[in-house]
């Protein structure tokens, strides 16, 4: 058994599919590509795949990572070519490489993710107000967000998950925010939650519902440095 790690995209076409649907689309493509994927034992064998983190509905990505257990080793370049030939529009494999069979689960090794948020600007947008809002957010020691779920309310301090200060760029039509979020064993926050708080509590002058969120990178830590999960534990 070999563990193949893949870096995959989730494009505009699939922005609104759920993580589960995304996983299913990929496992079906693995079957169409007739790759020798490994299956679990039992009544209802399923393909052995594991993802780094679930992407929210509405978010696209350049950097999804997935581990696929293979019954036999096939050249990563061949896997990429065979998968890309059968993947649906919006999903492409960018990189692939074998990692140690006993490598720690992707979910456990990733610790930071970067996003870009694009928001169309409306008439009232002022760069100065936007900068002011980001500065105030940066200066706060704690920013509490109330997350509502079927299980009830949770109070989360957003600031403890901010890895780098937020950066802003803008054109006459759009404003773009770049942010890095820490992923910890205790949880993380969604970029949409940070944007919601910026708009509602810090007067960031945009309409958060029209934002288009895109994941640009996912990082793992190795020797105190941030590296791609594909650069970890080569066999």
């Amino acid at each position: 058994m070999s563990k193949l790690r893949l870096k995959i995209t989730k494009g505009e076409e699939l922005r609104f599919i759920s993580h589960l649907d995304y996983v299913r689309a990929i496992t079906r493509a693995v079957r169409r590509a007739k790759l020798p994927a490994a299956y679990s034992e039992g009544f209802n064998p399923h393909m052995k795949v594991a993802f780094a983190s679930a992407l929210a509905v509405g978010v696209t990505s350049d950097a999804e990572y997935m581990d696929l257990d293979m019954e036999e080793q096939i050249e990563p370049s061949e896997v990429i070519a065979r998968l890309n030939a059968v993947l649906p529009p919006g999903i492409q494999v960018r990189e692939a490489g074998y990692v140690d069979e006993r490598a720690a689960a992707l979910m456990a090794v990733v610790d930071q993710t970067d996003y870009q948020i694009m928001i169309p600007v409306t008439g009232a947008f002022s760069v100065a107000d936007a900068q002011m809002s980001l500065t105030r957010f940066a200066e706060m020691e704690k920013v509490v967000y109330v997350r509502h779920s079927p299980k009830g309310k949770r109070f989360i301090d957003l600031k403890q998950y901010i890895a780098h200060p937020l950066e802003m760029e803008n054109t006459p039509q759009t404003v773009q925010l770049s942010l890095s979020i820490k992923m910890t064993s205790g949880g993380s926050v969604k970029p949409s939650e940070i944007l919601d708080v910026l708009v509602s509590d810090f007067g960031f002058p945009v309409q958060s519902q029209t934002a288009l969120i895109h994941r640009t990178a996912l990082w793992a830590a190795a020797d105190g440095k941030q590296v791609s999960p594909l650069a970890l534990e080569q066999p």
Binding site: R15, F16, R24, R32, G58
Partner: protein, 619 residues
């Protein structure tokens, strides 16, 4: 759609219902296309995407280089609200174009309770609801499917219908539209409708005048122009090995209702159950060859990556070479982790052996449909199943390790007495007893699903009055009180819903007004119990001044002109009458497939015959 309205898509449930871009969806260059056809299901995406008929027609149309078929389904209520608020017209999934800009909008009529959704989708598209209000800027609204055999309640809303298997007709109709457009739309919409009426199996309701007697029954249905034939006959595909089958179906991202490969073994069923409309309208039986099926199965596996394959037909276990097919498929796909399943099991031990072969490990549950609780009533409905058959089948299942069975029944069948209702309970108890005898254990789960019988057009029971709402409820209660056992679960169909279905299945044109009124008062998604509003329907009947009992619970005279008499699946009315009499005297009629011909009239009327590759191996 995706980037124009991210805020809406973010708010609604399952936004992937509206964003398209699925693998194998067909997007054509508009400059190469002469006719644009929207194929629609008046229900949500997950239901529409599961319909094999629509997949087949999508393939048949898109095979033509100058025809583009797209898909559209009913937006769920949250999306509808957002679309109405922002004035977004209903759009096609492939191109995101407004439906109103296409040439044809074709609905599949799968069940009567979806009618208000058709009106809702027309309204969301900005297409006038009444055919008489449409002009050259509007698509032609067409329909097909089982309810097309009596579409009279929907007659005012549909420009034309196609009876029977439509893969050839729908292309001919589209070509007629292309020719009509190229000729400069001579004689406006009427011009095209007259061209369409000349195509066999096409029914243009507006070309027929219906008159009524003083007692409210139909006096006469008369064609009003030379293009309209007095009787419209369905069309079928005679050779299923030669017709296009979608081996590259659109692959949804969302989990849909039937999220697996559908391999269609054959069409038609000749078992002759007297309540069953499908058993008449899809006649005669026509099988695909084993070789064709194996080839299609391979293509489907290659093009979808599904890990489940369902062998679909009206009664798949009747496929003449089922054993060979199942062995070949299991052998070929076991290493590829594709499981094969039979959706409908006949009640006999052959089927249990097969089911055992198919589900080597998991023994989830088996479903059987005895339909009625006593032998007498099963003979009335010509369900050729004895208590012994059921005992053999269920016994074989228990010995093979199954411990859960689901049993389907109907209440309100013609001649049913309280004894027949109690028979359902007795049958359930005897299944339980059998389980304990065979296994010595008590851990059995029996689920009994009880539907209320709805008489359907083109069946031997088309004259029979449905029992009243109060009587349905009394019989349900009687059954409930005869079952007191924790291992037996009882499920119901809502009686009011069955009554409304009963009204529209045998309704006439005057009911169009009731549908319109109910829709205006908020009826939609009537097939979804959380949206069904019985008071809205009752109110609509009162407003229009029609009595639902006239349609649902009235016994028709055998010589009455029925609203669908001018629409034919090829069956002789005399055959239906003979079967009606046999039913009342509990006489069985054998399956015509390999036994004797029961002279239903379909083969001679359509000039066709049964196609059966049987080698009698498993008989």
């Amino acid at each position: 759609m995706i980037n124009r309205y991210p805020d809406i898509l973010r708010q609604v449930l399952k936004p992937a219902r509206y964003t398209g871009n699925e693998l194998n969806s067909v997007i054509k260059d508009p400059s190469q296309v002469k006719v644009n056809f929207a194929l629609a299901m008046p229900d949500v995406y997950e239901v529409g995407m599961s319909n094999l008929g629509l997949k087949i027609l999508y393939e048949a149309l898109n095979r033509q280089p100058d025809i583009a078929a797209e898909r559209v389904y009913a937006p769920w209520v949250d999306m509808e609200a957002a679309m109405r608020e922002r004035k977004i017209p209903l759009f096609a999934l492939e191109s995101s174009r407004p439906i109103k800009e296409l040439d044809l909008l074709g609905f599949t009529l799968q069940y009567e309770l979806s009618y208000t959704n058709i009106l809702n989708m027309l309204d969301l598209s900005g297409i006038p609801l009444l055919t008489s209000d449409r002009d050259l800027s509007h698509p032609f609204v067409v329909a097909g499917g089982p309810c097309a055999y009596n579409p009279e309640p929907m007659a005012e809303f549909l420009d034309f219908l196609i009876l029977g298997e439509a893969e050839e007709t729908i292309v001919e109709v589209s070509q007629a539209v292309a020719a009509w457009k190229e000729a400069g739309r001579p004689d406006g919409r009427q011009g095209l409708l007259k061209m369409a009426a000349l195509i066999p199996s096409v029914y243009v309701p507006s070309f027929y005048r219906v008159t009524y007697k003083t007692d409210g029954t139909v006096q006469q249905v008369t064609p009003t122009c030379p293009e309209a034939s007095p009787v419209i006959y369905k069309r079928i595909i005679e050779d299923l090995d030669q017709v296009a089958f979608p081996t590259k179906p659109v692959l949804p991202y969302l989990e849909i209702v039937h999220d697996r490969i559908m391999l269609e073994l054959f069409r038609g069923c000749t078992r002759g159950c007297r309540f069953c409309q499908a058993g008449i309208i899809y006649r005669p039986v026509r099988e695909r060859r084993l070789e064709t099926l194996l080839k299609q199965a391979q293509e489907l596996v290659d093009h979808t990556g599904y890990n489940e394959m369902s062998l679909v037909s009206l009664s798949s276990a009747d496929y003449s070479r089922l054993r060979e097919l199942v062995s070949a498929l299991s052998e070929r796909y076991k290493d590829q982790h594709v499981s094969v399943s039979l959706p409908s099991l006949r009640i006999d031990s052959f089927c249990i052996q097969l089911a055992q072969e198919l589900q080597k490990v998991r023994k989830s549950g088996l479903t059987f449909a005895p339909e009625a609780g006593t032998q007498r009533l099963r003979d009335v409905i010509n369900k050729g199943v004895t208590e012994q058959n059921l005992e053999d089948a269920v016994g074989a299942a228990f010995r093979a390790g199954w411990s859960a069975v689901k049993l389907y029944f109907m209440i309100g069948l013609p001649t049913e007495t309280d004894e027949d209702i109690q028979g359902i309970a007795e049958l359930a108890y005897s299944v339980k007893k059998l389980y304990m005898q065979i296994t010595g254990r008590r851990d059995i789960k029996i689920t009994i699903s009880v539907a209320s019988f709805v008489p359907k057009p083109h069946t031997p029971f088309q004259w029979y009055g449905q029992i009243s709402l109060a009587e349905m409820e009394r019989r349900q209660k009687l059954l409930r009180s005869s079952i007191r056992d924790r291992s037996i679960t009882l499920n119901w169909h809502d009686a009011p819903v069955s009554m409304i279905e009963g009204v529209f299945s045998r309704g006439d044109r005057r009911l169009g007004n009731v549908i319109l009124t109910a829709w205006r008062n908020g009826a939609k998604f009537d097939g979804w119990s959380e949206h069904y509003k019985h008071d809205v329907w009752e109110q609509a009947f009162r407003e229009v001044g029609l009595d639902p009992a006239f349609y649902a619970s009235r016994n028709r005279e055998l010589n009455e002109v029925l609203p669908w008499d001018h629409l034919s699946a090829g069956e002789d009315k005399d055959f239906l009458i003979r079967e009606y009499h046999c039913a009342l005297s509990a006489e069985c009629t054998p399956d015509c497939r390999r036994g004797s011909c029961s002279a239903c009239g379909v083969c001679p009327t359509l000039g066709t015959k049964i196609v059966d590759w049987g080698n009698a191996e498993h008989e």
